[in-house]
């Protein structure tokens, strides 16, 4: 896991790329790869690739990047891991391929060289890469189907620029980087900047599950999808899982995610997700190193994950560390945290704290239970949204009762309740709107209380949120996917992709820690897709049953995610009003308003 950067002056008479810009991007992404730096330029200077290395597989110098293959035809800069690289290597060698190194990077080159775009479907892992084909004079850009690894792209008149993070691009490349209305409005709508937008006009996120091939001298074209997660959900026929099937799938995924030449840690909480990962990891025979972050604030309360996680670690026989975080430590970290944030986000502090602890323990890689709630129905949205839709059918938005209730709620917002209460009627008519209500920080109608109407109308138009949400569930609707599966798809492709995966990347990388996410695996969703759509989708209880020895207190714990007092810490009290998450969003916006 590393940082990539580069540029291609693809236009016929374009001047060579200014290599200093890529060197600068490397420098700005230093935290992503403290183990090494590389810069490669084509003979005519029109392609420049940069790389910052976090050495995990093949830590020898031979694993350095940008990497050229044995023939000299291909050059790659790659961020991510190909977990099945060993099996792919065997397959390639059987076809007569000669590989010089032990790295997954070289395997990736040969996968594309041998199988082209079809090769992307053979990959199990997380990746964002730029691959130069010197024979065809073509640059490949690609990103994994879930979008675990980021790839930001800026397009100039005759040059395309790319990097792992948006902020370094915004200060380095010679393109217009004014504020994106879609990003500003999206941030207040969701609490993060939704793909494909970035905080800066002119910089976009390369779409997940897409590949783009840019030929020298030709028009730039567009990325096209090679594998979309929503298609995995739309598999038919749906069927319940067979006994043992879930265990086998998960065991295989966890085993793959442990592939590494250096120790792999596990972020262990008191939740089912991380405990199952740890238990399955123990089954592989790997030596476990588990880390729990606990808070002084919760000492002695039921929110304290420390004792439960320690008990679980003991049962697993892992090498365990519990680190306690104090309130004043948080206060001093806040500036660094804000400085590390690539784009505005109201989250990320949990991952930032736990990654910091991992780095202090000397770990460069750790497994996280991220993605478990999306797959196994762990979020409240899985029961709230169906309920909301049922109410919507009883009190349609356009009907007299619905309108009356809305007006009442608008005039008399219930004291102490969520500001979104008035929106529950206007947003109960469709799954897209119900999902927006569930996840929105501000509803569309509330945006003009914080942003000027010029921004709001420009931003909402560009975001086209309802249509984009509908796009995600379209394949499921076409094949009769269940409501549960549709919610799962939305949570995976929206909240998880745009909030959790994004934050995990920059927050982990801020400490030079690669966070791996076994539940976020295209192989896993391919296997589980039909079951998620069935009348008996796999639940957290099914997940817990996959691993033996999980203490019952953990099994029965209703809380999901890694509980932290961070929300109350950041909800500053001014006068008599707690400001909550919206106040925090305003603070984050202020920070990002001023960094330009």
């Amino acid at each position: 896991m590393c940082g990539i950067a580069g540029a291609f002056s693809y236009f016929r008479n374009a001047a060579p790329v200014d290599g200093n810009i890529i060197a600068r991007l490397n420098d700005l992404q230093k935290h992503r790869g403290p183990d090494g730096e590389g810069l490669w330029s084509s003979d005519d200077g029109k392609v420049v690739l940069g790389h910052r290395r976090l050495a995990i597989i093949d830590t020898a110098p031979s694993g350095a990047q940008p990497m050229t293959d044995a023939s000299g035809r291909w050059v790659i800069t790659f961020n991510g891991e190909i977990y099945n690289y060993a099996a792919l290597r065997s397959e390639l060698e059987q076809l007569g391929c000669i590989l010089r190194t032990r790295s997954d990077t070289e395997v990736l080159i040969q996968v594309i060289a041998t199988w082209g775009e079809q090769g992307l479907l053979k990959l199990r892992g997380m990746f964002a890469f730029a691959l130069w084909d010197n024979l065809e004079r073509e640059l490949w850009l690609a990103r994994d189907p879930y979008g675990i690894k980021p790839l930001y792209v800026a397009q100039g008149a005759d040059t395309i620029w790319f990097a792992s993070q948006a902020r370094p691009l915004s200060v380095s490349v010679p393109i217009r980087t004014t504020r994106s209305a879609a990003a500003l409005v999206g941030f207040y709508l969701w609490g993060h900047v939704p793909e494909p937008f970035s905080w800066w006009e002119g910089i976009r996120m390369f779409p997940a599950g897409h590949v783009q091939r840019i030929k020298a001298g030709a028009s730039i074209g567009k990325p096209h999808g090679y594998k979309l997660i929503e298609d995995a959900y739309a598999q038919q026929p749906s069927r319940a899982l067979l006994p043992g099937e879930l265990h086998d799938l998960l065991f295989d995924v966890v085993r793959h995610h442990l592939v590494s030449d250096i120790p792999v840690g596990i972020f262990l909480s008191a939740g089912i997700d991380s405990n199952v990962i740890a238990a399955l990891a123990a089954e592989t025979g790997a030596r476990l190193r588990t880390i729990t972050v606990a808070f002084d604030e919760y000492l002695g309360t039921s929110n304290d994950e420390g004792p439960l996680a320690e008990a679980a670690a003991k049962a697993l026989g892992s090498d365990h560390v519990t680190v306690r975080v104090k309130r004043d430590e948080f206060d001093t970290l806040l500036d660094d945290f804000m400085a590390a944030m690539d784009q505005p986000s109201i989250d990320g502090l949990n991952t930032y704290l736990v990654s910091r602890v991992a780095a202090q323990q000397g770990l460069k890689v750790a497994l996280s239970g991220l993605g478990g709630d999306e797959l196994f129905g762990g979020y409240p949205s899985f029961w709230q949204i169906p309920m909301l839709l049922r109410m919507g059918r009883l009190m349609p938005n356009g009907g007299p009762v619905g309108r009356g209730m809305q007006n009442l709620l608008r005039v008399f917002p219930a004291m102490g309740s969520s500001p979104k209460l008035a929106g529950f009627i206007s947003h109960s008519g469709s799954l897209e709107r119900a999902y927006l209500l569930r996840r929105a920080l501000y509803l569309e109608g509330e945006l003009e209380t914080v942003l000027d109407q010029t921004w709001v109308s420009a931003g909402l138009e560009e975001l086209d949120t309802a249509a984009m949400l509908r796009q995600t569930i379209k394949p499921l609707l076409a094949t009769g996917g269940s409501l549960h599966a549709q919610i799962s798809a939305l949570e995976s492709c929206w909240y998880m992709r745009n909030q959790l995966l994004r934050d995990t990347d920059w927050a982990g990388m801020a400490h030079g820690v690669e966070v791996r996410v076994p539940f976020v695996s295209q192989h896993l969703i391919d296997g589980l897709g039909p079951a998620i759509s069935s009348s008996r989708p796999p639940s957290k209880s099914d997940l817990a049953s996959c691993a033996t020895g999980i203490p019952s207190e953990i099994r029965l714990r209703s809380k999901t995610g890694f509980t932290t007092p961070v929300r109350s810490w950041i909800a500053k009290v001014r006068g008599s009003e707690p400001r909550g998450l919206r106040g925090w969003a305003a603070r984050i916006h202020r920070r990002f308003r001023l960094i330009d």
Partner: protein, 378 residues
């Protein structure tokens, strides 16, 4: 990173407005947006005369409903008072003080008053309104002159007044060769050009148009190709046109009418001298704009223009009633044109300097707000 200030700003006009006060307000709002002390700004404009173009500062809500009349304005003031979180109320004009005062009382916030010029030189007729000035916590004045005159009747301590002169985009207002199309349009070919830019408003007869027109008959014999370019429009135009006829200088006075902001630089660069012997300017931003374009400037010694010209460092100062001094100054410039140069002293009116001053007093306000909050929780 501590909490930023949430401001409610009541002003006459800003975006979509025109004139010196409107420009100051736009610059002020931009400065708030660029300040680390500010989290959010809600603006209640009393007027939006023209269409607002482009995107507004991103930290701001510009309440357009407030500009639909007096009743709408008060309704919006009350609505924001009850619904919004506000730390500080900024009153952008003395005429809006009653509304601003109400909001600051309802929200228990500090009240800042901005004074521009003539509107603050005399107390209001109503004693009730006059008493509201006692409740103001901070006063920000565009010029020292205005602060002095305000202090003398309101008793607000002069030393507590913060001076915040207007600013000019020094990257935009620069010397440039005269625009041939404009020369053609106004018939200025081969002419020496005096220029004044401003509203020709009945109430604003203090700009000095009359004073310049009065000396033209004595200048024309010496400079037969002299033209006086009056840029701006208003209700007083007809009277001035008549006056030009009466003085038989009709051929030497050109009324350009109102011009868009984007054409200002081109117009300044037509002038050999910018002349504004005014008597009621709170500041006179146009003097700085002209000076930034390298145009020699003549301003007034009796009003805020004196400070705009840094007491004579950026241009010449004359008493508007002193006809001889005015003629001498104009003759001096026209006889010795010299090279168009821009003084480095102009930097004090740069956007950066403006921002610095705003940050400074926002910090004072912020400290005050924090102290108040601490006391409230003690």
């Amino acid at each position: 990173m501590n909490d930023g200030l949430r401001l409610a700003v009541l002003l006459t006009d800003a975006f979509g407005g025109f004139g010196g006060i409107s420009k100051f307000n736009c610059d002020l709002l931009d400065a708030f947006n660029a300040s680390a002390q500010v989290e959010h700004v809600t603006v209640l404009p009393r007027l939006i005369p023209d269409k607002i173009c482009g995107l507004l500062p991103e930290s701001m809500v510009y309440d357009r409903m407030a500009s639909r009349g007096k009743i709408s304005y008060m309704r919006r003031v009350l609505s924001h008072s009850f619904r919004d979180s506000i730390d500080v109320v900024v009153c952008g004009h003395a005429n809006l003080l009653a509304a601003a005062w109400l909001m600051s009382r309802l929200r228990h916030t500090k009240l800042i008053l901005i004074i521009h010029g003539i509107e603050a030189w005399q107390p209001p007729r109503s004693k009730v309104l006059a008493s509201l000035f006692q409740s103001v916590d901070f006063v920000v004045s565009v010029s020292r002159l205005t602060a002095e005159r305000f202090s003398s009747w309101s008793k607000f301590p002069l030393e507590k007044c913060i001076i915040q002169p207007n600013c000019v985009d020094l990257t935009r207002f620069e010397s440039a060769p005269p625009d041939e199309q404009l020369i053609e349009r106004y018939g200025l070919k081969g002419c020496k050009v005096l220029m004044t830019l401003g509203r020709l408003a009945l109430k604003e007869r203090y700009k000095g148009f009359d004073e310049v027109m009065d000396v033209l008959p004595s200048l024309i014999p010496r400079f037969p190709n002299l033209k006086y370019l009056i840029v701006g429009d208003g209700q007083d135009r007809q009277r001035l046109e008549e006056k030009a006829k009466v003085l038989s200088i009709g051929d030497h006075v050109v009324f350009a009418g109102k011009i868009p902001e984007s054409d200002k630089v081109a117009h300044y660069n037509l002038a050999d001298a910018y002349v504004m012997p005014s008597s009621g300017e709170g500041f006179g931003i146009v003097l700085i704009e002209a000076a930034a374009c390298g145009v020699p400037v003549i301003g007034s010694i009796v009003d805020g223009s004196r400070e705009a010209l840094l007491n004579g460092e950026l241009g010449q100062l004359v008493h508007p009633a002193d006809v001889d001094a005015l003629v001498k100054a104009i003759v001096g410039i026209l006889s010795h044109p010299g090279e168009r140069r821009r003084s480095p002293l102009l930097d004090t009116f740069s956007i950066g300097s403006f921002q610095g001053r705003v940050d400074h007093w926002l910090k004072l306000v912020s400290q005050d707000v924090v102290e108040q909050s601490v006391l409230a929780h003690a």
